[in-house]
């Protein structure tokens, strides 16, 4: 049960405030912000208490999403709800930022009104909400981005998001109605890689958390079939033959997914609702089918002048074809961040099969042989487009009945580094 809900910007501006039960005053917002800022570091604990009120908050899009509760509620439920709410707001506003929330506050109030009543979550399904918010929009031109862009307010911004290709999926779901006929569906296979490579080059840990996400802009879509690799298997026991099996340890599906064709043909069937939803989640631990994408060969020396020399050789072990773009002169940069005591080496692009080297010379006052032990680890942050670490592929994507008019179907693969650590 949620007593109040509010959204704060990172600077503490009140963006949204809604009191569902009238149990506590509005000063809770400032109390919360004081608590957050009073703590050292920018990462306060998820749950805080003041008097009898518990504050649960998440951070998304640079904002604090806070729910207060007087009862001892389930933390999973509240956190999941806040996450879901953030996702809904993202669906309806296109993107999640202080600005988008500020601009769409009326829409968000309306959403909140439908989503929560008297502190109880009513529904968060965009299919149900669609009816309420949609009727609204039809009855009178409205309150969302479009209303405001009529005034000439944010035209520039919508323009921008159309130009930027990677943000094709960051637009409000309602726009599908407005733009008429431009129905699109995006299926993203997103994997997060967390790897620890020991100083001797041995992979100590390699985990993949993956998910298939569907983002649907179709006004009506009756059924969608997603075909996965046929050799896809779950768990260790199901290995079939010697083929290049795509294996995951654990796998779970969204409750709307029908799995009657999954066992034999590896086909997921579902009726996607508007907006974004995670259709399938899977994990794989310690047994990647391919070697980790990056290898690092570090050498650390101390020269006579008391300087620290770090030689880094970074090799990308992906097959060369995986990146089609030619590597133009790499615009690499390097920055020393004293507050983190770290050196950041930025490589804009790195093709498969290539190798990059760098030498860093650091002046360290009072450098001793012992301080060499302090160097490291190296953390790599990257994004690999068109690659999945598990090898999961989408064979086909069919919509039935076939959509009238032009419809675009997109399948995208991307692997992020959740945490990719190379010890020195």
């Amino acid at each position: 049960m949620i007593s109040q809900l509010f959204i704060l910007s990172s600077k503490g501006d009140h963006l949204i405030y809604k009191d569902f039960r009238g149990e506590a005053g509005i000063d809770v917002v400032s109390v919360f912000y004081e608590k957050v800022t009073a703590l050292p570091g920018d990462q306060p604990p998820v749950v805080m208490s003041h008097k009898d009120l518990h504050y649960v908050h998440i951070r998304q899009g640079g904002l604090y999403w806070v729910a207060t509760t007087t009862q001892d509620s389930s933390p999973f439920t509240i956190i999941e709800f806040l996450n879901r709410l953030a996702a809904l707001v993202k669906d309806y506003c296109g993107s999640l930022s202080e600005k988008s929330v500020q601009m769409n506050f009326a829409l968000i109030y309306e959403l909140l009104d439908e989503v929560v009543d008297y502190g109880y979550v009513q529904t968060t399904s965009s299919d149900v909400l669609k009816n309420f918010i949609q009727t609204e929009a039809v009855s009178s031109k409205p309150f969302s981005l479009f209303d405001l862009s009529n005034v000439g307010l944010f035209g520039a911004e919508t323009q921008q998001s159309k130009v930027a290709p990677s943000s094709a999926a960051t637009r409000p779901i309602q726009s599908s109605r407005e733009q008429g006929g431009k129905s699109q569906i995006f299926v993203d296979v997103i994997e997060r890689l967390s790897v620890v490579i020991g100083s001797n080059g041995v992979v100590m840990k390699a985990d993949v958390e993956g998910e298939i996400r569907v983002k649907c802009y179709m006004p009506s879509c009756s059924e969608m079939r997603i075909g996965l690799n046929e050799e896809f298997s779950i768990g260790k026991s199901q290995l079939r033959g010697y083929g290049a099996a795509v294996r995951v340890d654990e796998c779970s599906f969204h409750q709307a997914v029908r799995l009657d064709e999954f066992d034999n043909h590896r086909i997921l069937r579902l009726c996607p609702s508007q907006g974004e939803q995670t259709v399938m989640q899977y994990q794989l631990s310690d047994d990647l089918p391919t070697p980790p994408p990056f290898r690092l060969f570090p050498t650390i020396e101390r020269d006579n002048g008391g300087r620290l020399l770090i030689y880094l050789k970074l090799r990308c072990d992906l097959p060369p074809k995986s990146f089609s773009q030619e590597l133009s002169s790499p615009e690499q940069s390097c920055e020393l961040k004293p507050q983190n005591r770290s050196v950041v080496w930025t490589v804009p692009r790195c093709t498969g099969g290539t190798q990059l080297s760098a030498v860093f010379k650091l002046e360290v006052p009072g450098l001793s042989s012992a301080s060499m032990l302090e160097v490291g680890p190296v953390g790599l942050t990257f994004e690999l487009p068109k690659v999945t670490a598990t090898g999961l592929q989408i064979r086909f994507l069919r919509l039935s009945p076939v959509q009238p008019g032009p419809s675009q179907r997109w399948v995208r693969y991307v692997t992020h580094s959740d945490s990719y650590i190379v010890r020195i």
Binding site: Y17, G41, D72, T77, L153, E209, R341, S342
Partner: protein, 803 residues
């Protein structure tokens, strides 16, 4: 005419720079904003233009959510409510619901519009009107609301029924003292069979609130089975609610229980963490008597819990880790093979890293110790000092079972010469030696020479303790102490000074030749020049102690070098599941400040119990939570009745100096009044009387009280609970006068009680008195001439008169 023109112009301007006005508004003074808005709202030109009118209302709401007080616009907004534009209606309702309580009279004007809307053919309008009618939170409007609500329950649209059902709960909470309308309750019970799952769940919620005083909604067998059968239809929020409510139901037979459990099996491994957690919670409450079923359920949730630990949402991940910690209390081996899941990510926030380290600590076994230590070693040099210190103390903790490997890492860390790392390592070593005396050789070698890098007082205190206790084995001990003594004038930390005194006296006992001179200097400084009374008193104490002879001093100061309760500590026994089952899926596990992270901020090991988790069954009312306060020492007769506070013990009694003094002076009086015989009988124990005023806790047995006391190292000798139920005075709160005769642990008084210098001195004095054995003290100070009480009192009086 002119005025109108001006206004027109202004309007024009505003139109042109619409962008500007929106951006600027929050920075205007709130009065200007409100005035401007009122102008716009009352302008007939605006009112006639739908879009402009709505935009103006938007601005009002925006100002409202930014914290500007726009309540004075209430009457203008009430007018704006009468419109066909649903969007505008919604916006106005947002405003009205926020400010209705401030303007009850004006709100009456809205009710007619709302009642009319309740007849609207559009179900959305009906539900909107009904919802906002109940959201106004005005008791005066109740009579107008009841009729539409009753009609709403029978509405053909589900969305109206959903609102109506919850509306009754809101209505009831507005006028809690009124009688419950049985007809409504029956209607709500019958609506549990509604076709719409949300209506069903809302009925549960509403009944739960309306029947709060009867213990919430009653779940009998047909209802329970009905709910279980419809579980699949609900969305995850509904499922969680139903699962929570079902915890009240007790199956009548074992067959029924197993039927329910097998029905729930699918949701136990749900990919949605809230459903999974709620189901496990239900499992735990359904079968406390079936340990095998419980264990099987815990095994089942392992996979989804681990998956949640890898969730993209940091907060969700944190919640999962905290709950895994709970599970590990009963099943230490549950996650053993999955330890790698708890390796920290590079960019994870510190609070997650620290929790993960705590989990890793629990998971250590012979197979994975090398990997885990290697991983933890990596965190020791983390940029975040809290993380690195937590990693070091985690290694120290593992060192209790794998001391050689850990000491090797810790010694290696000293080589880094980083002050915060060295400090954490020395503190960790001190704690380790206290539990594992066999490590002392390595530690004695390692601490030599690290005083140069130590900056903070905690680390230096730890070093001094080690030097004092192992003075004869650290060859440079007297010389290190000398450095400290030479710098004592510029020393700011109280704790370090007191630790220094104790350490020097201790070293004197084993290496008198090297220490005698410097001790003299130190005592001279502390007695003659030191301004802090605690330090002075301690110096005086040692001075007199030394007068009594070296043997007496030895008896007092050379206490234990290791934890007396050693042995039981190694390998914590698995707790029964029932111990934590009630806090599963609540906020409590996320809030708990873990014991381990605290180790860096405490004084000396002797004061702290290592195993704070009780082995005996403790009743729920007694917990050693950190945030609860002890109600001690207050005169019960003058206390006004206060809200129910569960009796609890706190490790740091928060007592003001004045209160302590009053209490102390009052004591002899109380004693003589009660029984004078006792005083003589208990020569060896400090008798402390605490009057704890608390609600009647008759279900709290003496055993559980005793167990709670043991957690804070207080042994109980005699124990009486007197219940005065002085109802005429204190109303329904009973008065419990607890007389606790405390047998204090035989701890030699080498410890300053201000391990944590942030605490008030008086409370630490109390701890000093508590922590030192009066027996040894009396022997040393004034052999055989006085009773313990006299001593304690004199010491206290001395402190307070000088303070």
């Amino acid at each position: 005419m002119e005025e109108e023109e001006e206004e027109e112009e202004e309007e024009e301007k505003r139109k042109c720079c619409g962008v500007l006005s929106v951006v600027i508004m929050p920075y205007l003074g709130s009065e200007d904003t409100v005035r401007e808005l009122r102008r716009a709202l009352t302008n007939p030109n605006v009112q006639s233009d739908l879009l402009r009118y709505r935009n103006t209302i938007l601005k009002v709401i925006r100002a409202m959510s930014q914290g500007v007080d726009v309540s004075s616009l209430f009457s203008e907004m009430v007018k704006a409510c009468a419109t066909v534009d649903v969007v505008q209606k919604k916006l106005v309702y947002v405003f009205l619901c926020s400010y209705a309580t401030l303007n009850p009279e004006l709100s009456l004007l809205v009710i007619n519009t709302l009642r009319k809307d309740c007849q609207d053919p559009n179900p959305m309008v009906r539900s909107l009107a009904l919802r906002n009618m109940t959201n106004l939170r005005l008791p005066s409007l109740v009579e107008y609301v009841e009729q539409p609500l009753t009609a709403g329950l029978r509405d053909r649209a589900a969305c109206v029924r959903r609102v109506a059902v919850l509306g009754w709960a809101k209505l009831y909470n507005l006028q809690t003292h009124s009688d419950i309308d049985a007809a409504v309750v029956n209607e709500l019970y019958s609506l549990l069979r509604d076709t719409d799952p949300v209506v069903m769940v809302n009925c549960l919620r509403a009944l739960d609130e309306i029947l709060k005083e009867e213990g919430g909604v009653a779940i009998n067998k047909p209802i329970a089975h009905h709910l279980l059968n419809r579980l699949k239809e609900c969305d995850i929020w509904g499922q969680c609610e139903v699962l929570r409510i079902l915890q009240r139901y007790r199956p009548q037979s074992e067959d029924e229980l197993f039927d329910i459990l097998s029905l729930l099996d699918a949701s136990l491994v749900s990919p949605h963490p809230p459903v999974m957690a709620a189901t496990l919670s239900l499992f735990l409450s359904l079968c406390p008597a079936l340990p095998t079923v419980t264990l099987a359920a815990l095994e089942r949730v392992r996979a989804p819990l681990l998956a949640t630990c890898g969730s993209a949402s940091r907060e969700m991940m944190f919640a999962a880790i905290c709950h895994i910690q709970l599970l590990l209390r009963s099943l230490p081996g549950l996650m053993g093979a999955h330890y790698k899941r708890f390796f920290c990510g590079y960019a994870e926030p510190a609070y997650i890293k620290q929790r993960k380290m705590q989990v890793l600590m629990e998971l250590v076994n012979d197979d994975n110790v090398a990997m885990i230590l290697d991983e933890l070693k990596g965190y020791c040099t983390d940029v975040n000092t809290d993380t690195s210190q937590a990693a070091i103390s985690a290694i120290g903790r593992i060192g209790r079972s794998y001391s050689d490997r850990c000491l090797e890492i810790l010694t290696g860390l000293l080589g880094l010469k980083q002050d915060h790392i060295t400090s954490a390592v020395v503190q960790t070593m001190r704690d380790l030696v206290w539990v594992c005396p066999q490590c002392s050789d390595t530690v004695c070698l390692a601490v030599e020479g690290c005083e140069e890098t130590l900056q903070d007082s905690q680390g230096r205190q730890a070093l001094l303790w080690l030097l004092g206790v192992y003075g004869e084995r650290v060859s440079s001990a007297p010389y290190t102490l000398e450095v400290f003594i030479d710098g004592v004038r510029s020393e700011t930390s109280l704790g370090v000074k007191m630790e220094l005194l104790t350490a020097t006296v201790r070293v004197l006992l084993c290496r008198p030749a090297e220490t005698q001179d410097m001790l003299g200097r130190l005592l001279h400084y502390c007695i003659e020049e030191e301004t802090n009374m605690s330090v002075r008193d301690q110096a005086l104490l040692y001075y007199r102690l030394l007068h009594c002879g070296i043997e007496e001093t030895r008896k007092v100061l050379q206490g234990r070098r290791s934890d007396p309760s050693l042995g039981v500590l190694i390998g914590r026994p698995a707790e029964p599941v029932g111990q934590w089952a009630c806090s599963f899926n609540t906020l409590a596990p996320l809030k708990q400040v873990a014991v381990e992270t605290e180790s860096t901020s405490r004084g000396s090991p002797e004061h702290v119990t290592f195993d704070r988790k009780p082995n005996t069954d403790l009743s729920d009312t007694l917990n050693c939570g950190q945030d609860e306060t002890v109600h001690s020492g207050s005169d019960p007769d003058v206390l006004p009745p206060s809200p129910v506070v569960p009796l609890s013990l706190s490790l740091s009694p928060a007592l003001s100096p004045a209160e302590f003094e009053r209490l102390w002076l009052q004591r002899p009086h109380v004693l003589s009044e009660q029984d004078s015989v006792k005083t003589e009988e208990e020569e060896d124990y400090l008798c402390m009387e605490e009057r704890v005023r608390c609600p009647e806790i008759l279900h709290c047995s003496t055993q559980s009280l005793q167990a709670a006391m043991q957690l804070v190292n207080i042994q109980m000798l005699a124990f009486t609970l007197l219940f005065h139920t002085n109802r005429s005075r204190l109303g329904k709160y009973g008065l419990v006068s607890t007389k606790l005769t405390l047998h204090l642990q035989d701890v030699s008084p080498q410890y300053d009680c201000t391990g944590n210098h942030r605490r008030p001195r008086a409370s630490s004095l109390l701890r000093l008195l508590l922590a030192r054995s009066p027996a040894t003290m009396s022997g040393a100070l004034n052999p055989g001439s006085d009773t313990v009480h006299g001593h304690g009192r004199r010491l206290a009086e001395m402190s307070f008169t000088t303070a």
